[in-house]
């Protein structure tokens, strides 16, 4: 390996400084980017087009950038342009099917190149030469689908150390879980996981889209109850509850559980109060609920029996579940994006996931009426949908695991904690929607 690639990307630093902040996965939006450095670069594909893999430090974060190099930039790649280097066009190579096919071939060949290790999971045969196509960009990843067979998720902000998403998927796969997309392979630089390939679920529809189709159907009726309309979602919600419970059971069986005592519970309660303090300072509408919220959090301290904790999904909502022809599948076990990797790795009560999903049902129900002229009829229908599907979800969960409603104090505290977080998010981003979490807080307190 020569220094060529490193030099090539170094020459691109000014262009990257301009380009990075325009990317959806760029974290430090609005910051002044003075320090942009290439920390490692490796040439993965030589020739034209060429592919250089780079890690770029910008604004204190490390980003994974795949740079494509071509003498002529085809029209469909023009939007991916980063800049020019040595008379070549440099661009975001994840948009280039040809180069990505080459990347996939490295996994297929279990290659070690440029200090990166490409590995198929044990026992998995990955075919080479698969047609690659980029799909939608997410908050922190870029995903590429290979011939409808597997999907490679490239972590744009890779963190050193074990990768939770990979570890939990492996554990679940080892347990024979049917509620995940089976792991296919990884890309890593030493201890840092850069990419994770999983079986592609081509027939999948997102939980959010599936749930909101049902809500639209209900709201179009107006004079029918949620249980009466054709688009009733309760059956799906129950199956989803069962799927989540099965994942929890598998994670508990392979990675273990423990019961935490008063001390750690107290820490958790303190953290909830801490979050509430921050949001109260920012959102005055929340003040009227402060007493009730604090009482709900403090009630957790009174639980004598301790709390069962284990590895959980950590960021569960309708956007993290897919309906496939074979049933519901949970995706993205990376954990809550807003917290540090250390915190994400902690074991938690599985009721955190349940609370996340219950809040998500509320969002799915109410987002169509939020921000509109108040309409009592529609609001009542939406609330009915939320109640019906939250109940069905818990019923389905209880058919496989313990009934989450049996731990009412804890579940309520988790839901409210989540709602407090939502209040801040909506206050900052979508003021029209702040009514959704506020209404939930009002109902529960």
């Amino acid at each position: 390996m020569t220094d060529q690639p490193r030099l090539a990307v170094d020459a691109l630093v000014d262009d990257l400084r301009a380009w990075l902040p325009t990317q959806r996965w760029f974290a430090a939006k609005g910051q002044d980017l003075t320090d942009v450095r290439v920390t490692r670069a490796a040439e993965l594909v030589t020739g034209d087009p060429g592919l250089v893999h780079a890690l770029v430090l910008a604004g204190g974060e490390v980003y994974q950038v795949l740079v494509g190099l071509r003498a002529e930039l085809p029209e469909h790649l023009a939007p991916a342009a980063i800049g020019e280097v040595d008379g070549l066009h440099a661009y975001d190579a994840t948009h280039d099917g040809e180069l990505m096919t080459g990347l996939g071939d490295l996994i297929a060949g279990n290659a070690d190149t440029g200090g990166l290790s490409f590995r198929a999971e044990p026992g998995v045969e990955v075919p080479a030469g698969l047609r690659a196509r980029p799909i939608g960009v997410e908050q922190s990843n870029t995903s590429i689908v290979f011939a409808e067979q597997y999907i490679l998720k490239l972590f744009r902000r890779p963190a050193p150390g074990p990768n939770r998403d990979v570890e939990l998927h492996r554990a679940l796969h080892a347990a024979g879980s049917q509620q995940i997309a089976a792991p296919v392979g990884t890309v890593a630089a030493g201890e840092t996981v850069l990419g994770f390939a999983q079986r592609f679920l081509g027939d999948a529809a997102e939980g959010w889209a599936t749930a909101t189709a049902s809500v639209r159907d209900l709201l179009a009726e107006g004079d029918l109850y949620a249980r009466e309309v054709g688009g009733d979602f309760a059956g799906e919600a129950a199956r989803l509850g069962a799927a989540v419970a099965a994942v929890h059971a598998d994670l508990a069986a392979t990675l273990g559980t423990e019961v935490i005592g008063a001390e750690r519970m107290s820490e958790a309660v303190a953290a909830m109060h801490g979050r509430l303090d921050e949001v109260l300072a920012e959102v005055p509408e929340l003040a009227e609920h402060e007493t009730a919220l604090r009482a709900a959090f403090d009630a957790v301290r009174g639980l004598d029996d301790g709390i069962l904790v284990q590895h959980v999904h950590g960021d569960l909502h309708l956007g993290q579940v897919l309906r496939t022809t074979a049933g519901w599948v949970l995706i993205d076990f990376e954990g809550e994006p807003a917290v540090s990797p250390r915190e994400r790795a902690l074991t938690r009560s599985p009721l955190r996931d349940v609370a996340g999903m219950l809040r998500s049902f509320d969002y799915a129900a109410l987002h169509l009426v939020a921000g509109a002229e108040p309409d009592h009829q529609r609001a009542a229908r939406a609330a009915e949908w939320s109640d019906r599907n939250r109940t069905a979800f818990c019923d389905g969960y209880a058919a496989v695991g313990p009934d989450p409603r049996a731990a009412a104090v804890l579940l309520r505290a988790f839901e409210l904690d989540k709602a407090v977080y939502e209040v801040r998010y909506e206050h900052r981003n979508r003021p029209d929607w702040v009514a959704i979490p506020l209404a939930a807080i009002k109902r529960a307190t």
Binding site: R133, G202, A205, A209, T210, A213, S214, A220, G230, G231
Partner: protein, 619 residues
């Protein structure tokens, strides 16, 4: 039309041919041979119909049309449709574009189970006509390229059948062992009772013979004893009788129940399959090109057994009905979710090369809910049978149009799916004009009312006094024959009838629909069901070159009542052009990126995927 034949039970020495009004026409049991066998009519006694062009795989791409003889057209003015009346309407059916008629049983019968209680396999129910009339119908149909199949009940006969009369009266005679007799009613306890509304046991005591007889259906339908090889031979001869006359095949009714075996549920037993293999061999050896269609109301994974050995392309039935698909289509549209359909198709196993599914939206039976889970059944009842009278047995007795609230868009969407999902579609008479039903009629008669031909008296079905009709015509203001009839639909080129005809034409032009493989195209929109049908044909030219032609059709269905966008991943067809099949409009070329389509509520598209071609006038 129920005929009380109780007197047959009581009089031990009634003539074996006491079966109903067949005096003067050839029938079973006119006399007995010296050894006590019944003399039965033979095919040579009748003319036989002309043959249709040879194509032994015709059923794989055929459009079937189920027509009740009684309900279609009355030629003699007695208020009941008949075979000659049906023959008079073949021009209409040819115009519509159907390939094969399926006639429910028209045999001599006491009609206590809609003709499925057959009292003579070799005679036609007199009110429908005669065997000669059937030959006439077959001839006229074949002349128009239309085939005809009919139901044949292998499992049982009517208790009025001379075989049964002989069997109960002469236990030691040649027919003594034709039925399943027992001294007790205790055998085969694990066999479920099918008609739970009316029957409490699968055994009924016969006072004449002093024994119990076995029946999986009604107590007036004793099961034939297939352990007895003479029964097997007798039924094979029944097949031959009609095949010699020229019929194109049979829908074999209630096939899973032919044999009984202690310790089983008496369904799908290996020996039942063996007998079907024998039937198939008779067809293949003696009557190639004729078909056997199994009616086995079971899960697809079990039904595929009735196609026989996949290694040889199937050696039992050529076709079988796919029952669970139909309620799932209804459920998917009501839920605005593709998953009820996707799931059942994913659970449907591959079938042998020579086999084909029969699929349908509605037929003369109720909308069957046996193939849905209890939860789903409650849901279907709630959605589609808001009035309890609409429920019958374990199903819903409605026609397509009223099931869909007479919504034209939905009727088109449902029909488009019927014509494009894997399997040969079976249309039900009257649904092509959106006929209604009459839920106040008893049993399953709600959906068996006279075909509506015109706004004239009796809907143009019969010249009789309206009071003499076998069932009243539909007369309500929405579905009544004054508004909904063939004549009115013919005169309006935007009618459902014309639309249906056009769709059948399009289907005929594309072998992918009938013979192509099926691949579901997933998308992130749960309300859109999209799939690819692809058929590759290899033809050898005169100079020996092999030409491969590929017919690729993509079908996209919006199951939601709201407009929907969908992004389909079609990049394997990159550079090709989708051409919409009903209008021929060329859509933008498929590129590297997902292909975006927008669909109106309950809208659908059929696209042929074509190679790019220069368009427009010469440059």
């Amino acid at each position: 039309m129920t005929v009380d034949n109780r007197d047959l039970h009581e009089t031990g020495d009634a003539a074996p041919d006491a079966a109903l009004g067949l005096e003067g026409i050839p029938h079973t049991g006119e006399s007995l041979t010296a050894d006590g066998h019944l003399v039965e009519p033979q095919a040579e006694d009748f003319a036989s119909a002309r043959a249709v062009p040879q194509d032994t795989q015709w059923y794989k791409s055929a459009v079937f049309y189920e027509v009740l003889v009684r309900a279609f057209n009355d030629s003699d003015g007695n208020g009941t449709g008949d075979l000659r009346g049906l023959a008079d309407k073949l021009d209409y059916l040819q115009w519509l574009g159907v390939d094969c008629l399926w006639l429910p049983p028209f045999y001599a019968s006491p009609l206590r189970d809609g003709g499925y209680d057959i009292s003579d396999f070799r005679a036609v129910l007199p009110e429908f006509g005669t065997v000669d009339d059937f030959v006439h119908l077959l001839n006229e149909a074949h002349k128009r390229g239309i085939r005809v199949i009919t139901d044949l009940v292998l499992n049982h006969t009517s208790d009025a059948h001379p075989w049964f009369q002989e069997s109960r009266n002469h236990p030691d005679g040649p027919y003594g062992d034709f039925y399943v007799w027992s001294d007790t009613d205790e055998a085969y306890p694990e066999a479920r009772i099918i008609f739970v509304d009316t029957e409490t046991s699968n055994w009924t005591y016969d006072p004449v013979r002093g024994q119990f007889y076995w029946h999986r259906f009604f107590s007036h339908q004793p099961d034939l004893n297939y352990e007895n090889t003479e029964v097997q031979e007798a039924m094979l001869d029944v097949l031959r009788f009609w095949l010699d006359i020229g019929i194109d095949g049979f829908r074999l009714d209630a096939v899973p129940y032919l044999f009984e075996e202690e310790g089983t549920n008496c369904e799908n037993l290996p020996r039942t399959h063996e007998f079907l293999k024998t039937c198939r061999k008779v067809v293949d050896d003696e009557y190639p090109g004729r078909v056997l269609l199994a009616e086995a109301n079971q899960w697809p994974a079990d039904v595929v057994e009735y196609f026989g050995d996949p290694e040889v392309g199937g050696d039992e039935c050529h076709m079988a009905f796919h029952f669970p698909l139909m309620p799932r289509i209804f459920m998917a549209v009501r839920r605005e979710s593709r998953f009820p359909i996707s799931e059942i198709l994913a659970q449907t196993p591959a079938i042998p090369d020579g086999a084909q599914w029969g699929i349908f939206l509605r037929n003369h039976d109720e909308l069957t809910l046996e193939m849905v889970t209890d939860d789903e059944r409650d849901y279907m009842y709630a959605e589609y049978a808001k009035d309890p009278r609409m429920k019958a047995n374990i199903g819903i007795r409605r026609r397509l149009a009223p099931l869909l609230d007479n919504d034209r868009n939905q009727q088109e969407l449902f029909t488009a799916m019927l014509l494009s999902l894997p399997g040969s579609p079976v249309l039900y008479y009257g649904d092509e004009i959106g006929m209604g039903d009459n839920i106040w009629l008893g049993d399953r008669d709600a959906v068996r009312t006279p075909m509506q031909w015109s706004p004239d008296r009796n809907a143009g079905f019969s010249r009789c006094d309206p009071g003499r009709l076998y069932l009243p015509t539909i007369a309500d203001p929405v579905y009544g024959f004054q508004a909904v009839n063939v004549e009115a639909h013919m005169n309006n080129t935007s009618s459902l009838l014309h639309w249906t005809r056009r769709m059948l034409q399009v289907r005929t032009e594309h072998p992918a629909f009938g013979k192509g493989d099926f691949t579901e195209l997933g998308s992130s929109n749960p309300s859109v069901l999209a799939y690819l049908r692809r058929h590759v044909t290899e033809t050898v030219t005169d100079d020996g070159a092999v030409v491969v032609t590929e017919d690729r059709v993509i079908c996209v269905n919006n199951l939601s009542r709201f407009p929907q966008p969908v992004e389909l991943h079609l990049s394997e067809h990159e550079g090709r052009i989708p051409v919409e099949l009903t209008g021929g409009v060329r859509f933008p070329a498929i590129g590297e990126l997902p292909y975006l389509l927008t669909l109106p509520g309950h809208g659908f598209y059929w696209f042929q995927i074509t190679d790019p071609q220069e368009e427009g006038e010469p440059q």
